[in-house]
Amino acid sequence: MADNRTYAHPYIPNTVPEVRDAMLKEIGLTSMDQLHDAIPDSLKLDREMNIPPAMNEYELRRHIEGLLAKNKHGADYLNFLGAGCWQHFIPAVCDEINQRSEFVTAYAGEPYEDHGRFQALFEYQSLLAELVDMDVVNVPTFDWAQAASTAIRMAGRVTGRKTALMPRSVDPDKAAIIRNYCMPVMDIQYIEIDPATGKIDVDDLRGKLSSDVAAVYFENPGYLGIIEDQGGTISALAHEAGAVSVVGVDPISLGVLEPPARYGADIVCGDLQPLGMHMNYGGGQAGFIATRDEEKFVMEYPSRLFGIVPTEVEGEYGFGDVAYERTSFALREKGKESVGTQTALWGITAGVYLALLGPAGMQEVGSTIIQKSGYAAKRLAEIPGVSLRFEGAFFKEFVVDFNKTGLTVAEINRRLMDEGIFGGKDLSAGYPTWGQCALYCVTEIHTQADLDRLAAALRSIAGTSSNGS
């Protein structure tokens, strides 16, 4: 410690020299340097680190706010980016609860001093269970991609098989996460999609099913927004082949869309971010997994599962870990995959969101998204040179084909930014055979005026192209 310090650091009370010296004396030392005697000199850093000098709180605030001021966000810009992270309405109560100091700073307490944390997570499990219509939900994992990866590995253990099938329309980034997580224990193969509808090519699926297939994974709505209405057929084919049906969902669709459990899904997964989490540059993601209450599935979860129990006093609710012995906390490498810090506070927040919205709110928000995204798609498709890539029903997102404008999506998006608009995600790199297509996201937060403004801006941009019709 520097002896020239004139004041104690606000975060380190025992930098007060008198206290520090008294504590050193108590343990029989005379200098702070002696504390690290166990570390050989050859491993010690023999210089001060090259890190800027400390800022006080006000300087820090000015500095960080200065950096953040360089960012443009959805209040400055009209945002049509989705693709796995979506801008939705967030009730104020969600923020109030997830900013509570008790929840922000809690971690691994016992069911006694952290009774409230256990109950809030049990309630989250229970509320999401109603939305997905299943009896078991986990304490959430990192994101949808991790939830899908684990669901596939669970299916692998349940069936003793090593192959999983998923449609080629899965988000390439999500596919990369799933592949990395499953390799080399499981093999991932693609099912082709119908080029006109974007739905699964059921004949191709049929040809790829075999006694090696552990899981058929598909999404509803899919990454491209498409509503897959062949879920019953796909699940039935999977079951006939002895495989598990795994369905990924956007939970905000489930006020209006049929939950996958009703069309044969054995494991359901998805992302909680739409249910009350700010986008946070991608820091709002949280993955959920749900199954029926069957031992063969429950015992394959790697996650914490909180259950309700009686206490020794009649009339109290207690909460605790269900089947803890399956986890890596209990069994290290013999446990199911691994568990640790994941996204518990987003689970609590999603519970608050569902409690606020209720059945009516979930139906309303789902309907509104369908109507507004339908309106936006219709307006955009009216623009000369602009069309929808796929026919059929969609939820929240849709693929816009700009090939006939003669412009690249990159160029269109640059010009939209000049108009104060973030255009849809450029799909040209991920799906090169489609040429210049973009994935647009429209939610309940967009107004008719916003959507008309987007359409006007795109009409103007498309009209300036020499190749435009």
């Binding site: 650091h9 000098p53 691994a108 991790q146 049929e258 810090t341």
Partner: protein, 527 residues
């Protein structure tokens, strides 16, 4: 009025007890918590109803059976649950060893709520997020300096996910050299976090676990016997969860490198090392830091968090992407990784709020302050250690000398003499408004408890915790029943855990509880 007697050995405490129902019991048909934005009449007139746009087979047949609750009731319910939760802000949370429960600066929590943070979409054009990318880049530079590594990814969103990423890099590295099949073993130690072994197993590796020597050090001779042409990697924490620093760590990494393996460093226990010693000089090829431990991001009931993953130049091509880079003109970009990359481990760029918090924390300390953190964390720990060894029934197995930032202690003598176990003490500590943790499994140290005081607590705070343990030790020897039957001042009493491992009885959701306990309600809920 008499002043509160401050030399009392334990705090007179009772946690909030609201007797709060499960949220479904707050249901009153027709109540609303919030009204989401709706559809304009003109839009509805033009587009028609949502139902018209959903294939019949995909229309939800029955509304989800969520409760209907007015907004104030929802708020009150969750505020009560928060009061029934003992966050680290509210207690001297030195009892959760290995997790570095330090002070969470409020300025950082305020900064992450800036709308130019919360409302950023991860796919925005880089020109519109230059400030965010600068924060990522600057934290990367600081992390490189702290560790000696050459590049960091903040994509992994916990220590466990960082370990998974590292095991993935080990596999990709050996695959790239044609040795992926041959090298199928990863070596770890028993005093390391269970996720080290578990994530390596997820990546298909056979796990070799080394047990310590009689002084508690990882055993170099056992490592020499374990390495071979099958060795893919060696993962270890240093200090391990005992707080014992392995001063021969460079010999360990040399042995593994000589056998062709990768050495990766779990720096979950880095709080006593900042500015003192680094991963690079110890011979590691990769390391990770938990930003939610050492770098003062909060634990958030268990995430979201960040496991900042650093590698040497040789392994940089294997990192998940994209990586933030600064161009010569000062413009920040997102650079995609090449074919050697493991791809991705988490969507987008990780948990940006945590990156911002830790960057702010480092700025609030500077190089000198970071070293103060390490020194005071070790000072606090050795003060605590010195005092706890004076408590009847407590001990600290292995070496008798100083430890670094934490210690795994044992109540074996106390249990042998009184029958009171470390789990009993866990529950009794709740009665004094304190958190206390035992150890990961398996219990190598008998009747374990693991304390990590960090730099954040004053001497008086440490004394309060010590007094509580002394008090409970005294109770164990004089009135053990009060410890065994604890908690007495908590929100609830001891759980009857008998149903938690029984598939016929466990209830993981409220609907499962209703089905399993009330046939009558089961019929109703299905109707």
């Amino acid at each position: 009025m008499k002043r509160i007697i401050r030399d009392r050995k334990v705090r007179q405490f009772h946690q909030a007890k609201w007797d709060e129902p499960v949220i479904f019991e707050l249901h009153r048909a027709g109540e609303r918590g919030v009204i989401p934005p709706g559809t304009e009449a003109a839009v509805a007139a033009e587009i028609g109803s949502a139902a018209d746009r959903i294939p019949a087979s995909m229309q939800r047949a029955a509304a989800p059976a969520l409760p209907e609750i007015g907004q104030a009731k929802v708020l009150r319910h969750y505020l009560r649950l928060s009061q029934e939760t003992l966050g680290s802000d509210l207690n001297v949370e030195i009892g959760q060893g290995t997790c570095t429960m330090k002070y969470i600066p409020r300025i950082n929590e305020m900064l992450i709520r800036n709308s130019r943070m919360t409302e950023l979409h991860p796919l925005q054009d880089v020109d519109s997020v230059q400030g965010m990318l600068e924060i990522f880049h600057n934290l990367d530079l600081a992390m490189r300096e702290i560790s000696g590594m050459d590049a960091f990814s903040f994509q992994p969103s916990s220590g466990t996910q960082a370990l998974l990423a590292m095991a993935s890099i080990v596999r990709a590295y050996h695959d790239s050299r044609g040795e992926g099949e041959q090298r199928d073993e990863i070596i770890t130690t028993i005093f390391s976090h269970p996720s080290q072994a578990a994530t390596a197993a997820v990546k298909g590796y056979k796990i070799i676990t080394l047990h310590p020597d009689e002084d508690g050090f990882p055993d170099l001779e056992k490592l020499k016997n374990a390495v071979s042409e099958r060795t893919a990697g060696f993962v270890v924490a240093n200090p391990e969860d005992t707080g014992i620093y392995n001063h021969r760590i460079r010999e360990f990494t040399d042995v593994v490198h000589a056998a062709g393996g990768i050495c990766y460093y779990d720096q979950a226990n880095a709080n006593g090392l900042l500015g003192i010693t680094r991963a690079k000089e110890a011979g590691f090829d990769m390391c990770f830091f938990n930003l939610h431990k050492t770098f003062a991001a909060p634990h958030m009931c268990g995430g979201p968090a960040t496991g900042a993953l650093g590698v040497t130049d040789a392994l940089k091509p294997f990192l998940p992407g994209p990586l933030v880079d600064r161009e010569a003109d000062g413009h920040y970009v997102l650079k995609q990784q090449g074919d050697l990359s493991i791809g991705k481990v988490r969507s987008f760029h990780g948990v940006a709020q945590t990156v911002l918090r830790s960057y702010a924390w480092i700025l609030s300390l500077g190089a000198e302050g970071l070293k103060d953190v390490a020194q005071v964390a070790v000072l606090n720990n050795n003060y605590l250690y010195h005092k706890i060894l004076q408590i009847r029934g407590a001990s600290a197995p292995y070496i008798k000398g100083r430890r670094l930032e934490q210690v795994r202690y044992s109540w074996k003598q106390l249990t042998d003499e009184t029958g009171v176990t470390t789990e009993d003490i866990t529950r009794r500590m709740c009665d004094f408004g304190l958190h206390y943790w035992t150890s990961h499994h398996p219990y190598i140290v008998p009747q374990p408890f693991t304390l990590e005081p960090t730099e954040s607590y004053s001497k008086e705070d440490l004394d309060e915790y010590i007094h509580a343990l002394e008090h409970i030790s005294h109770e164990a020897y004089t009135n053990p029943e009060i410890v065994k039957s604890a908690p007495h001042s908590s929100t609830v009493h001891r759980n009857d855990e008998s149903s938690l491992d029984d598939p016929k009885q466990w209830c993981i959701t409220w609907r499962a509880y209703l089905k399993k306990t009330s046939p009558e309600l089961q019929t109703q809920s299905q109707a």
